[in-house]
Each structure stands twice: as structure tokens, then as C-alpha cells.
Symmetry: C2
Subunit: 201 residues, 2 copies
């Protein structure tokens, strides 16, 4: 039996407040072999966020230089800030056979879909919009107006859901993470990813 | 949140001797909610096989009456015997929201694929052809010539693998069953099967 040689690119999107970071932490603690691609952003760190862990926090000037130098797989503006993904970091890991996880919003995901049709696209939703509103308020980081903007943005993002392969409801974090792990296992079992196992028959 | 209403049809194929029955037993012990569609066959029961459990063993006359009455989703001849699947039993369970598992050979699977494109198709292979030969000999139920026929048939069946969605290697039974369970979980997370969860947003 041969091993598969290339890693799988996994793209995760979901509205602000859905609890993506928590689900991702749980997922990465179960699947330590996954490389989590930390996005670059020009927005300010929130309380508890660490540079190089949650995001690579960079200046607007640095980000615009990365755009000019074609260093990004995708980038987008969101609520007035840049968010983007380093192309080279991802390519290096995929080539080495490592699965790579991207946490990006729907505009960025659409760009990745165009460039990497073999990637797996997963959208995370809350159990309901009321619950999303509750979580955004509980986070206690945004004012009422920002929250209203995030909820409006979420409704727009929902229109992109049909473009995603999988839909995961984050009701309980452990269950959402378990579903994502099952999705990754299943994707690894796809015939097209495994034909090398039966060479020479 | 609404529940999905229709069950998932799962089609499992693999060469004789790969250990499908053992994998299926393990799978069904973990996922007791799945209805395993017991095929009808005209072949004789092997030692340890039970009527209504491994197969519904019927006479050639009865089987041909089922064909004439359109009672079968698919049927095929294999090594001189008929094998077929009851249409009504499957439909009833799918409509009731129960996932249904079919264990059929590649000819039958091709017919199901034409009629039920939404079904999930999984092919199980041994780690190698040498291992398949070893398992067929260890089963101690067939003579050398029958085994040679089964190995030749297996090689022909392998040509159908690209038509299957997933490929599972039965090296360790528990791992093969776990992969199939992950595949079923993932299929349940497919956006097209879950859009009802986000109605009314």
C-alpha cells in the first residue's frame, strides 16, 4: 500500500460569533497532524488573542505589500479590515502531505474555490439566528451597532451556503468538531484520493 | 431545527473474500439505526449462514417470479446464481427516514446507481490480492478452481472502482467499519442534505 502524497485543503467559514475558533481548537486537539493556516489581518487583536496564533496581526502597509508581491492565496476586506491567506505556507504543507485548515470568510472562500476546486468547503452555522445574536452579546466585545452589522453580514453569508460541500451546526462544540473530523476522514476515503492504494492490481 | 426526513441509501460492494460480512456486522453493531437490506439469492447457504440474516434464500422459481412481478430494485447472476434486492422494503425504510445499507456486487450496484444517483457507493478492497487469496483459502469453503474464479472475478470488479464514491481498505475490521461510519456521518453533513436546517433565516 502506498500512502497518499498530497495533503487535503480544508476551508472553514461561518458567521462571526458562531464559535468557529472554539470548534477549531477542539478539532486541532484531536487532529494534531493538521496545519492550521493562520490568516493575516490588519484588524486589532481582541482581548486574549495572540499574534501568530489567532491571526498574524500586521499593519495596513505590510498587508498591501503582500498583495503587491502576490504572496496571498486570497484576501478580502471585512468590516473595514484586510484578511488574507499566505499562499506559500499552504503550498509547502500540502506538498509535504499535511492537511491544511483555512478559516476564512465567504469572499475569500469563493476565491479559494476558484483556484483549488479539490479543497473541501465546510460552513458552520449556529442552531438559530437568535442563538447567534445571544452569542455575539455574550462575547461582550462589540457594541449594539457592530452586533447588528454582524447579524446583517451573517444573513448575507448564508446565501453562500449552497456553494459549500458540508454544513455543520455548532450546537455542542464537541459534536461539531466530531462531525468535521468525520468529514475529513470521509474525504480521505474518496476513491479519487485512494486510487494509488490499488495500483498494480 | 428540523430533522431530515428521508433516509440515506448506502451501497457496499467488494470482492468475495474481502470480509464484507464481518465489516457489516461491526458497522451495524455501532449504528443500530441502520436497516440492512438482506438480499435474496438462489445460492445455497454456507455453513453458519442464516436465512433472513445473511440472505433470504429462495428457490429459482420464486426468484424468477419476483423478477416477473417487478419486485426487485436490481438483480444479477453471479457464479451461476441469482442475487437481488427488494425494492419495496428499501423504499419503505428510506421514506420513514431510516438509512438503508445494501451489500451488492458491482453489476447490481451499477443498476442502483442508474436508479438512485443520490445513494452513497462504497467499495471495500483487501490490503492486497495476495491477502485476498489467503482469506479465500482460509475460509475453507471453496475448492481451488472456485477460488481461482473468485480471484479472476475480483480483478474484473476492480475495474468498477472508479464508479464508487469511496474506497475502504479492509485491513483491520474495526478501522474499516470506523471509516464507513465516518463516511455516513459526513454524508449526513452534506449541504444538500441539510438545507432544511437553515430554513426561515
Amino acid at each position: 500500500m502506498k500512502k497518499k502524497t498530497k495533503g487535503q485543503l480544508i476551508v472553514l467559514s461561518g458567521p462571526s460569533g458562531v464559535g468557529k475558533s472554539t470548534v477549531i481548537s477542539e478539532l486541532l486537539s484531536e487532529r494534531k497532524d493538521i496545519y492550521f493556516s493562520v490568516s493575516f489581518t490588519t484588524r486589532s487583536p481582541r482581548v486574549g488573542e495572540e499574534d501568530g496564533v489567532n491571526y498574524n496581526f500586521v499593519s495596513r502597509e505590510r498587508f498591501e505589500a503582500m498583495i503587491a508581491n502576490n504572496e496571498l492565496l486570497e484576501y478580502a476586506q471585512y468590516v473595514g479590515n484586510y484578511y488574507g491567506t499566505s499562499l506559500k505556507l499552504i503550498q509547502d504543507h500540502l506538498e509535504a502531505g499535511t492537511d491544511v485548515l483555512l478559516d476564512i470568510e465567504v469572499q475569500g472562500a469563493a476565491k479559494v474555490r476558484a483556484k483549488c476546486p479539490d479543497a473541501v468547503f465546510i460552513f458552520i452555522v449556529p442552531p438559530s439566528f437568535e442563538e447567534l445574536s445571544r452569542r455575539l452579546h455574550a462575547r461582550n466585545t462589540d457594541g449594539e451597532e457592530v452586533i447588528r452589522g454582524r447579524l446583517q453580514k451573517a444573513r448575507e453569508e448564508y446565501r453562500e451556503i449552497p456553494n459549500y460541500d458540508y454544513l455543520v451546526v455548532n450546537d455542542k462544540v464537541s459534536e461539531a468538531a466530531a462531525e468535521i473530523i468525520a468529514i475529513l476522514t470521509a474525504e480521505g476515503c474518496r476513491t479519487k484520493n485512494r486510487m494509488n492504494l490499488i495500483e498494480g492490481v
